[in-house]
């Protein structure tokens, strides 16, 4: 078989159009890749919920009957606020504003913790109203129904609710812990206008968790 001269030539020179990579720095790329797997993780939980709900609508209640929508709407508001403080922290360090970075980070941590706290309270109340994950003990009477009223929904409601929101809450908690690390590093002056990758990375994670909550709030509480 003969060899074509032009293919040979192209074989010999390093590709002039070569440019490795994603045009974003490696850690950011890594964070994005990791977040994709998180998408799939929540897909398996949320997908199961959607399917179970579709198959057994009678297990679930209309918005506000069992779950406390106003409380959670406030909580949603807080989480959105924490996203804003997070981008503000990032914007601050982009301009070299070290103090701004620290303050906004602190705000994000506080609001994030508040979110987790409110969620814990919510769990506590719901649990005591009989809205539990264990199928055998499920006896949620609903917001209006009070104790002894007819049971609203079925065990799949509690199971899916706690699994989904619980894993989201765990993600928020991990986010708060990581943010604390970032804050400590910020206090030590680890971030500068030129290098603030840590802030950007935790920001990506934090906003992703916020994004998941946007979906969860809608499909769990409102639909």
């Amino acid at each position: 078989m003969t060899t074509d001269a032009s293919t040979l030539r192209s074989m010999m020179i390093p590709d002039p159009a070569y440019e490795p990579g994603m045009k974003v720095y490696t850690m950011k790329l890594g964070m994005w890749v990791f977040l994709l797997s998180e998408v799939m993780f929540f897909t398996s939980l949320i997908g199961s919920y959607v399917i179970l709900r579709f198959a057994h609508p009678d297990h679930f209640a209309a918005p506000g009957v069992v779950l406390n929508v106003p409380l959670t709407a406030f909580n949603t508001f807080f989480l959105i606020c924490s996203s804003v403080t997070m981008v503000k922290a990032f914007a601050a360090i982009q301009q070299g504003d070290d103090t701004g970075l620290k303050l906004w980070l602190l705000a994000t941590i506080l609001i994030g913790s508040l979110f987790v706290g409110i969620q814990a309270v919510e769990y506590y109340i719901l649990y005591h109203e009989g809205f539990v994950p264990a199928a055998a003990d499920y006896h949620a009477a609903g917001r209006q129904g009070m104790e002894g009223g007819p049971i609203v929904g079925g065990p799949l409601y509690g199971a899916t609710f706690y699994t989904m929101t619980g894993f989201h809450g765990a993600h928020v908690t991990i986010g708060v812990i990581c943010l604390t690390f970032v804050l400590i590093r910020a206090l030590r002056g680890a971030y500068t206008q030129n290098d603030h990758r840590g802030v950007e990375l935790i920001g990506l994670y934090w906003h992703f968790v916020d994004l998941v909550w946007i979906i969860l709030f809608t499909i769990v509480y409102l639909i």
Binding site: G30, S44, I51, L52, A134, A135, T160
Partner: protein, 599 residues
């Protein structure tokens, strides 16, 4: 400008690791991808051995039902095999754990953990992984997972016994299986292992995208890197689905949530969907890297460019894509909507097309080549041959009406082993023997290697080919005592025959273990490029490669990886990093390869 990014990263890395690391940092908590690869190699070979021994138990029961196991019979407790006679619940645990160890703890790390770690940085010309510490974590997370999984054998109630597929509600409610702790440990272990795989996948993907050496364009990547890259995507996106499912199943077991149990209106079929949505991509996770590794060996040992490089790459991608839309073929008889079954039948069967491309391109590579039948080549060729058999039996099952009969029979067991042993494991044997000189600086004993290969090849076929026939006679799988069924009693001689062959097969593997360690310490010292290969790990890095791989900085790549026998050069290979002005005018002096026996 982006090229500078790579070098900058390298400088940074060099600056970081200037001091000599101590013993613990070198051998235990190492961040060096090569050391991590070796750790994975030893750990997963150990689990391969465990899986093989469990198979021996399975085969003993099937070949000699109800008879006490010889020699080791006395070692078992009264709840597993009193007096050496295997109990049904122990048999179920044997089958379950055989599948689990083989899939999750042996083949998957052997392919992805070992070769992803070892080859990706070396073949793309990177100093290490993008996240070396995450990489270390990836190995050390898998250790507790393995320990927990092994611990399951010693807990009350025995180990998990619901099959490696753990169909709910058998797996979710202890009163149905009699297993409680074992199943929980199984779930926890696999959840943990998921994090290990995930850490690996993030690393591999990022590394391949961002850390290629200058000149290493996408279509100059060696095929193992392509295969591992695509596989990493499957791992990244499929494992979390399993993790979610495992967690729900764990909640069912422990809290009593009832996702998958009908008593609370949960959906048993949902578990199957979740499991197989992960499970089918998983089986391609178990074959694609082997395909890549084998392509490398075949091209090299044929001294020819791989036939249709682009088609090979596209076929890998196509298999990975199609792999996402076929999971229902495991559920044809599960009561799934028959219309959905038709869809899955069509998508499944279309996967044969990219697989065909791969097979024929391997044959095309051999055509007009100069074939050297060294140990890696023998194993690689057997991969091709056995994968065809396993793939073709997949066609029968892909046809949903035919699957009605053969589903859950030994026909499936035959399929599994033709693709996973005949395919993946032969691919792994090829890869271990091919890269052994690079990893350990010595050559894998050609004599022992050939003995191991031929004995394995023959006894393997004697074990697994007859399984097709007993499957077609209706022999169900996961069945403790087939003689309970009168119509299966005539098959007992075949089962006994299979068992004897299986013991030969397992014993043969001891030759491999011996050859492995013998070659590591006593094998012939390897020259730098014993296979006269083109890829960077042989041409640009010393043997064994030092920390950060390329002492002279990132190599520059000028051409694709399979430029063998180019007529313009006096040598029959053209290293990827050989500058064009040094080609053919100054042929590289190369030592004669001791392995090219020239038969």
């Amino acid at each position: 400008m982006a090229t500078t990014a790579v070098t900058a990263e390298q400088h940074a890395a060099t600056a970081q690791h200037h001091h000599e690391p101590g013993f613990i940092r070198t051998y235990v908590f190492s961040t060096d991808h090569k050391m991590i690869a070796k750790q994975f190699l030893l750990a997963s070979l150990f689990f391969l051995l465990v899986g093989g021994l469990l198979a021996a138990g399975i085969r003993w029961q099937l070949g000699f039902p109800g008879q006490p196991m010889p020699l080791i019979g006395g070692l078992f407790s009264d709840t597993t095999a009193p007096g050496g006679i295997i109990l049904p619940e122990f048999y179920n645990a044997l089958v379950t754990m055989h599948g689990t160890f083989m899939i999750f703890f042996a083949i998957m790390p052997l392919l992805v953990g070992v070769w992803g770690n070892y080859l990706i940085p070396l073949q793309i010309g990177a100093p290490d992984m993008a996240f070396p510490r995450l990489n270390m974590a990836s190995f050390w997370i898998s250790v507790p997972a393995g320990v927990i999984m092994l611990a399951g054998f010693f807990v009350q109630g025995g180990h998990a016994g619901a099959g490696w597929t753990a169909y709910a509600p058998l797996s979710s409610e202890p009163e149905y299986s009699g297993v409680y702790m074992g199943q929980i440990l199984w779930l926890i272990s696999l959840t943990i292992l998921g994090f290990s795989s995930l850490a690996g996948a993030v690393n591999y993907i990022t590394t391949v995208i961002n850390m290629r050496a200058p000149g290493m364009t996408w279509f100059r990547l060696p095929l193992p890197v392509w295969a591992l890259f695509v596989t990493s995507w499957l791992v990244l996106l499929a494992i979390p689905i399993l993790t979610g499912g495992l967690i729900m199943l764990l909640f069912d077991q422990t809290i009593g949530t009832g996702f998958f149990s009908a008593a609370t209106d949960g959906e048993p079929l949902l578990w199957q969907h979740v499991f197989w949505y992960f499970g089918h991509p998983e089986v391609y996770i178990l074959i694609l890297p082997a395909m890549g590794l084998v392509s490398e060996v075949i091209a090299n040992r044929s001294r020819k460019p791989i036939f249709g490089y682009h088609a090979m790459v596209l076929a890998i991608i196509a298999i990975a894509f199609l792999g996402w839309v076929v999971w229902g073929h495991h559920m044809f008889q599960s009561g799934m909507n028959p219309l959905l079954g038709t869809t899955f039948m069509i998508t499944t069967i279309i996967i044969a097309v990219p697989s065909a491309i791969k097979v024929f391109n391997w044959l095309g590579t051999l055509w007009r080549g100069d074939l050297h039948f060294d140990v890696p080549m023998l194993n690689a060729l057997s991969f091709v041959s056995m994968f065809v058999i396993g793939g073709l039996s997949g066609i029968f099952m892909a046809s949903a009406p035919v699957d009605i009969f053969i589903h859950d029979t030994y026909y499936i067991v035959a399929h599994i082993h033709y693709v996973l042993f005949g395919g993946s494991l032969f691919g792994i044997f090829a890869a271990i023997t091919y890269w052994f000189p690079k990893m350990f600086g010595r050559i894998f004993s050609p004599v022992l290697g050939k003995v191991h290969f031929w004995l394995t090849f023959v006894s393997y076929n004697l074990v697994f080919f007859p399984m097709h026939t007993i499957g077609l006679r209706g022999h169900m799988r996961r069945i403790y005592d087939p003689n309970q069924y009168e119509f299966l009693q005539p098959l007992q001689p075949i089962n006994t025959f299979i068992t004897i062959a299986a013991f030969v097969l397992i014993a043969t593997q001891l030759i491999f273990a011996f050859a492995f360690f013998w070659s590591m310490y006593k094998g012939e010292k390897a020259p730098r490029n014993p296979w006269k290969a083109n890829t960077l790990e042989w041409t640009a890095a010393p043997t064994p490669p030092p920390h950060l791989n390329f002492p002279g900085g990132a190599p520059v790549v000028y051409r694709g990886p399979y430029e063998y026998s180019w007529p313009g050069s006096t040598d029959d290979f053209l290293p990827q990093d050989l500058p064009p002005d040094r080609v053919s005018r100054t042929p590289i002096p190369s030592e004669p390869s001791p392995m090219s026996t020239g038969d």
